[in-house]
Subunit: 266 residues, 2 copies
């Protein structure tokens, strides 16, 4: 008989969205045994289960009692209300959620072994994420749970940090700026570009270089453009070009002001 | 005697900022002869000239009359006022500027051969840019000038597009969103991160993946995060965390609204 390794612990994945999908596939590829996938929708549950040789269910009452770790990656809004039904008859297992902004204590009233495993990344099913390249932030209700989560996370990446819920929430806010808001800047850029007839592909070298620069320079030092130069005539022309889209005009104005406030204070 | 090639045309570079620096070095490496660098500051002029085996001056009156092409990469605000002095006694040469938002006609009153060569990229002296990966947008006062600028630009990249000043200005606006505003999101993220004690490096995999995703998906399809999920409780918590920074709270609110308006209309 082989030695018992972290991979032998049976895991259930609750959720089949972008994060659940990528995390489950990454765990499966590292040799973990995913015993079941739960999702509200049959299609998502079945699709993910097919990728990782797992069973699946769409019925909360049918969630397997046989897992030792339940990794829950549901929408932030629905998780709190579902906890009592999720953990019922499965109270002895270790339950973890994967959300940046939900405190660990959300589990506290219902179970004794719980924690958080938050991989800081943006996930999509169309593009498989390399977990070796990302940071995972963990938190646990007791040293034993922390140790288990350390082992699970370390099997995916070397960058594992233990942080509390308050710091994780702040981290999530930072991630919203670096990822979600950045992506929205790409969207607005793409909308503006459409009117020129130039394909969005032409913008990719600029997007890539903007990301690449902050590997070598601090973002504040890397700042270029009309706002940092106080170039009022260009700024005003740009705002004029956004005529008919008052919220975009306001957005342009506010980000330009913010660039000035931030980059001339330090 | 060898055949005359585009590289034999003597070029002067007016300006020694980030764009001028990178463009001059790229041209030099492609075999062009840069006969002179002008900059207001001795240090910048001398440093760039040293990289490209060129002479230099800080005196506009001393700009060489011996170049056939003058590439002007000065701050947008100063260019218009300097043109009469720049072109004096050098009226026969081809003059081009490199700005996204300045119309080509700015040259019209003073000379007959002019144009624009706009490389759409973010430049810094600390990090040399690979011109093969970027798009250059050109415009010329006559077919012969367009042909010359095509040849110069094509020696640097395959992606050369001829567009007029109006479309270029719109392109520049798109670039401000994709690059300058994106970089500011990185800066704000880095500021927030500082308070957690986690190094900015931990954010780089997320930044890289956010950029990588839009190579495969449209930015609108790649959008994730609390705003696109209408997750009001997280949004409100995040805004609360930015207490004491009212313009950041307003920015967070406005970008979240913009994500919703944009992503649920199409």
């Amino acid at each position: 008989m082989k030695n018992r390794s972290i991979q032998d612990i049976p895991i259930a994945i609750v959720g089949a969205g972008n994060l659940a999908y990528n995390l489950a596939v990454a765990l499966y590829k590292r040799g973990f045994r995913i015993v079941q996938v739960y999702s509200r929708t049959e299609k998502a549950a079945c699709e993910l289960a097919g990728q990782i040789e797992s069973t699946w269910t769409t019925d909360i009452e049918q969630i397997t009692p046989d897992a030792s770790i339940y990794i829950v990656a549901l929408k932030d809004e629905v998780l709190p209300g579902l906890i009592p039904r999720l953990v019922k008859d499965r109270e002895k297992a270790l339950w973890v959620h994967t959300a940046g902004s939900i405190p660990m204590n959300i589990w506290k009233e219902n179970i004794t072994r719980y924690g958080v495993l938050y991989p800081m990344q943006t996930f999509s099913k169309q593009h498989e994420v390399d977990f070796k390249e990302l940071s995972i932030f963990i938190e646990g209700s007791a040293p034993e749970e922390i140790q288990i989560l350390q082992a699970v996370a370390r099997s995916l990446t070397k960058k594992v940090y233990e942080i509390d819920s308050e710091r994780r929430k702040r981290l999530h806010l930072a991630a919203v700026f670096a990822c979600n808001f950045t992506n929205h800047m790409y969207t607005l850029s793409s909308d503006i570009l459409k009117e020129t007839g130039i394909p969005f592909d032409a913008m990719l070298p600029l997007i890539d270089e903007t990301a690449r620069k902050v590997h070598a320079l601090s973002p504040a030092d890397a700042q270029t453009g009309p706002a940092i130069r106080y170039d009022k005539s260009i700024i005003n022309e740009h705002i004029d070009m956004l005529v008919g889209k008052p919220y975009l005009q306001e957005l342009y104005r506010l980000i330009s002001t913010s660039i000035n406030i931030r980059n001339h204070k330090s």
